[in-house]
Amino acid sequence: MTNAIDRRRFNCILLSAPALGVAGYLPASARDFIEPPYLKDQIEAKRLPPLQERIPVKPRVIDLERMGRKPGRYGGQIRMLMGDPKDVRMVVVYGYARLVGYDENLNLVPDILENFEVEDGRIFTLRIRPGHRWSDGHPFTAEDFRYFWEDIANNEKLSLTGPPAEMLVDGKPPVFEVLDECTVRYTWPAPNPAFIPALAGALPLYIYAPSHYLKQFHVKYAHPAELELKVTSARVRDWTSLHERMGRMYRPQNPDLPCLDAWCLSTAPPSTRFVFKRNPYFHRIDTEGRQLPYADEIILNIGSSALVAAQTATGEADLQARYIRFDDYTFLKSAEKRGGFNVELWGRGEGSRMALLPNLNAEDPVWRKLWRDVRVRRALSLAIDRREINQAIFYGLGRESANTMLPQSPLHRLEYQTAWTRFDLDQANKLLDEAGLAKRDWDGIRYLPDGRRAELVVETAGESTEQADVLALIRDNWLKIGIKIYTRPTQRDLFRKRVYAGSVVMSVWSGLDNALATPDMSPHELAPTGQAQLQWPKWGQHYEEKGAVGEPPDLPEVRRLLELYLAWRQSRSTAERAVIWHEMLKIHADQVFTIGTVNGTRQPVVVSKRLVNVPEEGIWAFDPGGYFGRYLPDTFWFRDTAE
């Protein structure tokens, strides 16, 4: 057993020899590693090898001082509060161990991988860190990639719809090759720019699996009688369910599953308290010879999401932002002393905190025709007093903006942010007059072309009072341009159904999910690519279902957006992608398909006074970077630990 591992290691070292001496890397023998006290017993009992043998030959070295942070000490538990047992996935999201990942400045850097090469936009060579091991000590090798590709992605029982969409180019899968124990290659006939960003996703595309562990649940490898027994004792339908359940990495539920994350699940559900323990084989170290993560455990206490703010105020969480809203800020601030924490205000990552979405696929023919007239959309945007909204609802902490990129994104341009966002009722009125809505009723409300009054119902998912407040402000200003809105909160599922069917004329939702994009990230949110895009659900559905249902887009600008998106999917270089992105953003700015209000609003982040290295400012976004993930929670440490 040890022999085999050593030989493998040896092979990989030979192959990666030219790469030795890269910045930040010191040969392992030359340094003094510091063992985590948490693992002392296990190391002394020889159940774990020493640190030098646990980490890859070339671990990922995190230079904290260069990042402006302090190298830390081992120990402690980071406690967090969650509102749902499904939230165990947050540890995987926050931990953010990915094959490649975004760093603080949104650069893609190899993380689990030692490096990767892309040739011609279509040939991807991924190199695993030699000596990298799963949390159970078994080597992490090309076999784990092969197992995923051949035995999971291409097993029709485990993957009903075939390999993941990001791995298909024009419906064609890649050619997969194992070049050696530590190197794999994916080759597509055409460029696949979606591949690498997908690996870096907060919800990542997993293209590997712990094959040595999962084979016991796979019909191809397992002993039939033993597998049968396992299926019966787990009370599942067949081996596929068992394999799915035992092998789930994103929302883990199997404490025995080996992982590559900083902390691995150690509590079997159901429970209201989940403990994640440090991965003794984690591949990141700091410059002083300590293995990351610094904190030994992450503890999730699952309760009612409505209680999270109150519990946080009593100091029951060391790091908490989920389930805390901006309205809780003053309450938490007043409890800072008693609870022993600081409340930081991070920026939120949406393109707009709240966007108004005229349904271009509305059933009502009159409104549909009006929405497709760009003058109407522009007029509505001009008639929103964003400053008032920002001051009244967000204490002036937000940024008045169209629904577009945030300034932190390399794709941000001021003209996108300010397009059609100045408060100008005169021009709005003029635009509406030109659009054929000149006739008004006695109270100033315009007549629609078919003689109805211009009154419409804006539907919301009914989840926040904030939306209702903003809408009340908008309502008053829209009255001045002769359009009257009524707000109707419904329930989320019903709301979506009604928008999809076109029964809703205008809806309210948050803006772009990823407003921190770089040219290398997919611009799918800007083109009609999904039913969940509430401004054009039927066009999105048409693309999503490959033309089987929905309607093809009939506005030339929207068709252009789709063309551009498809062009991005074929692009070979970052420069090419930037050009595509900018054209798409420009169309959006000019056409106002979604009406943004305010973005960059604040997300309170509660940080224990004992916890060091948590940035005071950051962006709270799922994608890119998995909320805390981009800021490396494995480098957060407690100043009062015993070490």
Binding site: A165, L203, R245, T272, D493, L494, R496
Partner: protein
């Protein structure tokens, strides 16, 4: 009598079948299914959705079949004692409910005991001292108990318990004991936390119990036999407790049937507010997220307990109250 019990048990079968059909239909009525609301929830938080996995789960749980087929699959499972699978937790329903049942029964039992301990003396006092200051005062308190929303009281008590006694907010024990095996320290921690839910849940029940005891006892106290007994010089205690109180307790024995499901389900809203590890929040959550089998099987379990509870109280009534005659039925 035996024949009667036998007949009653037979009638339970169609009752439960009908209930199961009703439960299933109502759960099918809202638009969408668990997977759609799950996807919508993720999207609402700006998170990604793994569509392939959703497809896999849909197929695994038989969502490619018609509702009628699914109903019979579910029913077939129930008959074999298989409560089905929870989508939300991805575990068998029985394990899920089983892990919470102990604490639920503990809380409910303590609550019921508390209710009785408070309600009986007060109810009797109110009835015997009708329209006195004591009656008015206690009645006022009782009405307050009914009128104050439980969840509000729970929040207030929880806040003060935290500020004054340092009891951690929510849950039935301090966080470090969650998921740990039972120990003396854990039990102490449970006791420390349990009084809030017990008082909160018990209070409303106590108030209505007081009113019922008072009303029923008043009826009896005005009857001829009580007056006669008093006139004949029977000891006041005996003239109260032995006869009138006993016959006023029919409502109480009849209510035992309702207690059985109550013990298992607990008070849902309060339990959610307090983040208790009881079955109540489980049920509400399942209904919200359309976690069909968890909600359905749990409701069926409650239905079964209700039917059994009613049977028990009927039998108990028949034994305890000689005025109730089964033979009367046929002449009706």
């Amino acid at each position: 009598m035996l024949l009667y019990i036998f007949r009653r048990i037979l009638i339970m079968i169609p009752t439960l079948l009908l209930t199961s059909a009703l439960v299933f239909t109502i759960m099918e009525l809202p638009p969408g299914d668990y997977f759609e609301s799950y996807m919508a929830e993720l999207q609402a938080q700006g998170e990604g959705v793994d569509k392939a996995r959703i497809e896999f789960l849909k197929k695994e749980y038989g969502f490619d079949k018609s509702p009628v087929e699914r109903y019979f699959i579910w029913l077939g499972g129930l008959l074999q004692g298989d409560l089905g699978y929870s989508f939300e937790y991805q575990m068998p329903v029985s394990e899920l409910v089983g892990s919470r049942i102990f604490l639920t029964v503990l809380v409910s039992f303590a609550t019921i005991l508390l209710t009785w301990l408070i309600a009986f003396p007060i109810g009797i006092y109110s009835a015997t001292h009708q329209y006195s200051w004591g009656d008015y005062g206690l009645t006022f308190l009782g009405l307050m108990g009914i009128a104050v929303p439980n969840f509000l009281l729970a929040l207030i008590l929880m806040y003060f318990a935290n500020v004054w006694f340092g009891t951690s907010i929510g849950h039935l024990m301090a966080p470090e004991y969650l998921g740990q095996p039972m120990s003396w320290a854990k039990f102490k921690s449970i006791l420390e936390h349990m009084w809030i839910p017990v008082i909160v849940i018990g209070l409303a029940g106590t108030a209505s119990m007081i009113r019922k005891i008072r009303a029923n006892l008043l009826d009896e106290l005005q009857k001829q036999y009580t007056i006669t007994a008093k006139a004949k010089g029977l000891h006041p205690f005996k003239a109260l407790v032995k006869y009138p109180l006993r016959s006023s307790l029919n409502f109480f024995v009849g209510g035992i049937g309702g207690i059985l499901p109550e013990i298992v389900s607990g008070a849902e809203i309060v339990a959610i507010v307090l983040s208790l590890e009881t079955t109540g929040p489980l049920l509400i959550k399942a209904l919200q997220s359309q976690d069909m089998y968890l909600a359905g099987s749990f409701l069926m379990f409650l239905a079964l307990l209700t039917v059994i509870g009613v049977l028990i109280s009927d039998i108990a009534l028949a034994f305890l109250d000689p005025r109730i005659r089964l033979q009367g039925r046929s002449t009706r």
